[in-house]
């Protein structure tokens, strides 16, 4: 009769459902949420666009003075990521030599514009 005892125990205890809008679900530290690019660090090597499995990253021409491993160099292009094509596998974060692209642990990445782009 463990089913009955479990039922009575549940009847008196607080239900576990998290009422989403009021109480938020705790997002753990390394969660792979929305992708983000740190513009100062990016050296425009387009490694992320090569590695991206869903071709979400396109390189956009953009001239900028950047400092990489002590040396100064001028980069010619910068990644532009289509948010709703990105499958959040964080391969770009793994293979980026300059750690310029990373996954924020921001949970909700919904939106209305299908071609929304993160630069």
């Amino acid at each position: 009769m463990s089913v009955l005892s479990e039922m009575l125990h549940n009847l008196v205890s607080r239900p576990v459902t998290i009422l989403y809008p009021k109480e938020k679900v705790p997002v753990p530290q390394g969660f792979r949420g929305r992708v983000a690019v740190i513009d100062e660090k990016c050296i425009g090597c387009s490694m992320c666009s090569l590695v991206c499995p869903s071709h979400a990253v396109t390189m956009v021409p953009d001239q900028r003075e950047v400092e990489f491993k002590g040396k100064k160099l001028v980069r010619k292009k910068r990644p532009q990521i289509e948010v709703f094509k990105c499958i959040r596998c964080a391969l770009c974060e793994r293979h980026c030599p300059a750690d310029a692209i990373y996954m924020k642990n921001e949970l909700s990445s919904s939106g209305t514009d299908r071609e929304a782009v993160v630069t």
Binding site: M7, P15, V16
Partner: protein
């Protein structure tokens, strides 16, 4: 108490239709809330059944191809009407003014009507799932109907009358029938659970095999009315069992002023029907659905024989009491 304006008020307002509909929706809310809390969930808000009802009324009504529209529209209304009239004969405040010798049989007949209508709806909607669902409704009805009637007729046998109100007043002088006829009480509960097609016995509406059984092709207005009919039959069933086995709106000693008696009678009625509902929904939560042939063996082997034993016991007790 028998002049017509009061009767009209009795039928339409207080313990009649308006109260019944509100109480049915409250019942469905309580049932879903208790079941949810036992499953460690939150459960729906108070006005969920009312909101469902209004939304469903507004939805588009889709007729399956080649269906007989007038009958398909009329069936839910008949089911609802049958069950609501059955409620009038069950004493709510004290003895019901419309009581007459034999209203127990009428109530039982009216309670059986929705099941048959569900079969008709299943058969009419020309869809393989609802056809099989309809057949299952009827086969299930043959199984639980006989023990259910036996269990509900034994109190009448012992009290010597066929009117529910008189049975209730008989119980006021003697013990409750739950104490006198425990087996009958259990069989009646099982029969009610099967009649309302709730989880251990919701074989016709088996969600995982037959989509929704006879309910498959019901949409919009029809679904709203049929759903309301099943809620109201749940209230009527619980009230019937509360009246026959738990002494209805009375307690063994009478209260002096009449109007105070009515009020506490009403609250007693509410309390007792809620107790029956609590039992039914905990049974619903605690068990899974059994198959139609398993129900057949259990139904005829155990439940029917228990009902027969109960009848025999009552007959013996009657003969001793009459003899002594």
């Amino acid at each position: 108490m028998t002049d017509t304006p009061l009767i009209i008020v009795y039928i339409f307002l207080f313990p009649g239709f308006l109260f019944l509909l509100a109480y049915a929706m409250l019942f469905e809310f309580l049932d879903r809330r208790i079941a949810a809390r036992m499953q460690h969930r939150v459960g729906p808000p108070l006005f969920q059944p009312f909101a469902d009802f209004v939304k469903m009324l507004g939805k588009e009504v889709i007729d399956p191809q080649g269906v007989d529209r007038p009958v398909f529209d009329a069936a839910p209304v008949i089911a609802l009407a049958a069950v609501m009239t059955a409620f009038l004969y069950i004493p709510v405040v004290s003895a019901s003014p419309l009581a007459f010798q034999g209203d127990l049989v009428l109530v039982l007949y009216l309670m059986a009507l929705p099941t048959i209508i569900l079969f008709v709806m299943g058969w009419l909607s020309r869809n393989i799932y609802s056809a099989i669902g309809g057949i299952r409704t009827v086969t299930q009805m043959f199984i639980y109907e006989v023990p259910f009637f036996l269990a509900l007729l034994t109190p009448a046998l012992m009290a010597g009358t066929w009117s529910i109100s008189e049975i209730v007043s008989w119980q006021q002088d003697h013990l409750w029938f739950m104490v006198l006829q425990p087996i009958g009480f259990v069989v009646a509960l099982i029969g009610l659970q099967a009649k309302l097609e709730r989880t251990p016995f919701d074989i016709p509406e088996a969600e995982t095999e037959l989509v929704a059984g006879p309910w498959t092709e019901l949409t919009g207005r029809r679904l709203a009315l049929m759903h309301l009919a099943s809620d109201v039959s749940c209230v009527t069933g619980c009230a019937l069992i509360a009246a026959l086995f738990l002494g209805g709106p009375t307690i063994p000693w009478t209260i002096a002023p009449v109007w105070l008696g009515w009020i506490c009678g009403f609250f007693l009625f509410l309390a007792k029907t809620l107790v029956v509902l609590l039992i039914l929904s905990s049974v619903k939560v605690a068990t899974g659905r059994i198959r139609i042939d398993q129900l057949n063996t259990i139904g005829w082997k155990y439940i029917a024989s228990a009902a027969l034993v109960q009848v025999a016991v009552v007959l013996v007790m009657n003969s001793i009491r009459v003899g002594a």
